[in-house]
């Protein structure tokens, strides 16, 4: 099924995009803009995580923000304990706990004194929760629409709990006034190139990790499950196990993105687990192309970029939301594979034309055709 030439050119394109992203701070010396772009890159990473589960395994996770928010809270808890509280001094209680008359640090906060624990938890907590939820859903052969609704409901439950337990989580206000993320004495300034490099580096690594998964045998089986679940089951594969695996990996990437978001934004808020953010992720991925990791990432960058540029004015932003909704509906209707799919189609058309015409038509970048396409014709 694998076409080596395609894979090589795909890797080349992915690498080129990653290098371009990593080079941005060399030409841009504006702390505010760097911070903004780092934020967009985090969203790009979140889009990659959803593309992995939705585009490659057919699991539409409407609660992708749940794992993102949990990662963000884990990082915020660790960074919060690094600050010196005004009221209780060093090693004291975080300020919001003092305000809520909590006298002792809750047990689940204590290990977060170690930053390493916080980082590990930021990935492992989302993975564990996703594995549990995945086990619950996929072992029961709940698929499609119902699985989507369950992910959405689960996310809202977690969000409600975080808002409700104000004494331990800061409630609506979230966790604010954080220390800087520090590794071996080197502090990552949210408004400096160091944080940007951190985010861009993590993005590049996850992008290639996700690409590797989709190219592996597991990735092929996942795509087969997406297209014809029953047939894969008849072949003797444990469909639920594969789904739980990709669901958990996706959650881990989203958790990592959440941690980076806390580093860049310098706070964590219950809106990070909200329905609006989850909807946005789905929109980015749908617009960029759910079956292309790079397409999904670029979709996130483009949509959030335009949104950021328009956010200067309230009216613009509201009109933009309207336009975004329309664009989303149109993409769902006419471009189920998003912009990446459209590029593929154009590229495929040029490939079929006689060699003479190809020389003139190098302008549109050809998105490589994924190996999943061949399988898809079956359904």
């Amino acid at each position: 099924m694998k076409v080596p030439g395609k894979t090589t050119s795909q890797i080349a394109i992915y690498a080129a995009v990653c290098i371009a992203i990593l080079l941005v701070p060399l030409v841009l010396d504006d702390a505010f803009l760097l911070n903004k772009y780092a934020r967009y890159l985090v969203f790009g990473m979140l889009a990659v995580s959803l593309s992995l589960s939705w585009g490659y395994a057919g699991i539409l996770n409407l609660g992708q923000a749940m794992t993102f928010g949990l990662g963000s809270y884990c990082m915020a808890m660790a960074l919060k304990l690094k600050t010196i509280p005004v009221h209780t001094g060093s090693d004291g209680l975080p300020d919001f706990m003092v305000w809520n008359n909590v006298t002792e640090l809750p047990w689940f906060w204590i290990p977060f004194h170690s930053l390493a624990f916080g980082v590990a938890a930021g990935i492992l907590v989302p993975v564990a929760l996703a594995a549990l939820l995945g086990w619950f859903v996929f072992k029961g052969r709940v698929t499609g629409v119902y699985a989507a609704i369950i992910t959405l409901a689960a996310m809202v439950v977690v969000q409600l709990l975080i808002i409700d337990q104000q004494r331990f989580t800061g409630g609506f206000n979230g966790i604010t006034d954080l220390a800087q993320f520090e590794v071996a004495g080197f502090a990552f300034d949210a408004y400096g190139s160091s944080s940007y490099y951190l985010v861009a580096g993590c993005l590049a690594v996850t992008l290639f990790l996700a690409l590797f998964i989709t190219k592996s045998k597991t990735g092929l089986i996942l795509q087969a499950i997406r297209d014809q679940e029953d047939r894969v089951r008849f072949f003797g594969y444990d469909v639920a196990l594969y789904k739980i695996f990709v669901f958990s990996v996706s959650a881990g990437i989203a958790g990592l993105a959440g941690m980076l978001y806390t580093i860049v934004m310098e706070f964590a808020s219950p809106t990070f687990l909200g329905v609006p953010l989850s909807l946005s992720v789905v929109i980015w991925v749908a617009v960029g192309g759910r079956q292309s990791l790079l397409g999904a990432m670029l979709g996130a960058l483009v949509v959030t970029g335009v949104q950021g540029a328009l956010s200067e004015s309230e009216t613009f932003l509201e009109t933009w939301t309207l336009v975004m909704g329309l664009l989303f509906v149109l993409v769902v209707l006419f471009l189920p594979k998003g912009l990446a799919g459209a590029f593929e189609k154009i590229a495929a058309r040029f490939e079929r034309t006689p060699p003479g015409a190809v020389a003139e038509s190098t302008a549109p970048r050809s998105e490589p055709i994924k190996s999943g396409r061949e399988i898809e014709g079956v359904s």
């Binding site: 057919g58 539409l60 409407l62 619950f136 859903v137 029961g140 709940v142 499609g144 629409v145 119902y146 989507a148 609704i149 369950i150 409901a153 689960a154 809202v156 439950v157 409600l160 709990l161 808002i163 409700d164 329905v275 909807l279 789905v282 929109i283 749908a286 009216t315 509201e318 009109t319 939301t321 309207l322 975004m324 909704g325 329309l326 989303f328 509906v329 769902v332 209707l333 189920p336």
Partner: protein, 289 residues
């Protein structure tokens, strides 16, 4: 006794609104298999239509119910013709498309009517209270209860005893076989969608005097109504009636004794568990495949 009756009446009042919202959702879902996430926005549009007709033309709420039903039904008709029609083969994408439509409707209303809260006046004739078994109950809430039951009965009769209802049930059971017997399923789907939207619009108009009207008001309803449909079971109108009764009383009870946030979280958890173990609902015998 008084407290008991008033507690039951509060539950019934919540149940009647729930049923109005859920009825449309259940019909659309039962017949076409589309989970309409824009349903809350149909409710919202109905409420805004009531506000608009009242402030611009001075129409009383009771008079404007019929035009509101027609307006929102037309809107549903359009949505079906423009978008949903193309997606029946891709059920996951209908969720996305209806979600997108919901966002658009919310945003359009926010841009046109403004994001602030709006208020609709209660019909003066019904702004009194009635005493039942010693408990005082708002006449308007009773009116909603009766109207909801009447609408349910009407829908039931259409579903059960008319030619249209027969076709509807045939399609719900098996679309392709029904089509091969000469039933125009596309047209039936569109009618169903419009009818469901119209009822949602009515629900919105009816709750508008009780709650403030805002662009986001629909989202809360769609979650609760979805719970009703899941609990009641696809294709089971009686299930919808029963489950909205159960949920209404339960919500009233929980809100009376406990914390609102936890109650919401519990309801959602119940949805998750219910979908996992009984996706066909508590009251449905057969399953749509």
């Amino acid at each position: 006794m008084e407290i008991f009756v008033s507690q039951i009446m509060t539950g019934l009042s919540i149940a009647s609104i729930l049923m109005l919202v859920a009825l449309g959702l259940a019909i659309i879902y039962g017949v076409t298999g589309v989970i309409n996430l824009a349903h809350g926005e149909f409710v919202m549009l109905g409420a805004y239509a009531a506000w608009f007709l009242q402030t611009q033309f001075g129409l009383s709420l009771l008079v404007s119910l019929v035009p509101i039903f027609i307006l929102v039904a037309l809107f549903g008709w359009l949505i079906e013709a423009l978008v949903i029609r193309h997606l029946y083969e891709r059920p996951l994408d209908t969720i996305l498309a209806t979600w997108g439509i919901g966002v658009m409707a919310q945003q359009a209303v926010r841009l046109i009517a403004g994001g602030e809260l709006r208020y609709v006046e209660m019909p003066p004739a019904l702004a009194t209270s009635v005493t039942i078994f010693g408990a005082s109950e708002s006449a308007y809430r009773l009116f909603i209860l009766f109207l909801a039951l009447a609408l349910f009965a009407l829908t039931w009769c259409i579903y059960r005893y008319t030619h249209f209802g027969l076709k509807l049930r045939a399609i719900a059971q098996n679309r392709s076989i029904a089509s091969s017997f000469g039933i125009n399923s596309g047209r039936i789907y569109r009618f169903t969608f419009a009818y469901g939207a119209g009822i949602a619009g009515l629900a919105g108009a009816l709750v508008s005097p009780l709650k403030s009207v805002s662009p986001e008001m629909g989202t809360t309803y769609v979650v609760d109504a979805f719970m009703v449909v899941v609990l009641g079971g696809v294709q089971s109108l009686m299930g919808t009636l029963a489950s909205s009764g159960i949920l209404g009383e339960l919500t009233g009870y929980i809100a009376f004794y406990s914390n609102d946030t936890i109650a919401k979280a519990l309801v959602l958890l119940a949805i998750v568990v219910l979908i996992r173990f009984r996706p066909q609902g508590l009251f449905a015998g057969r399953v749509r495949t």
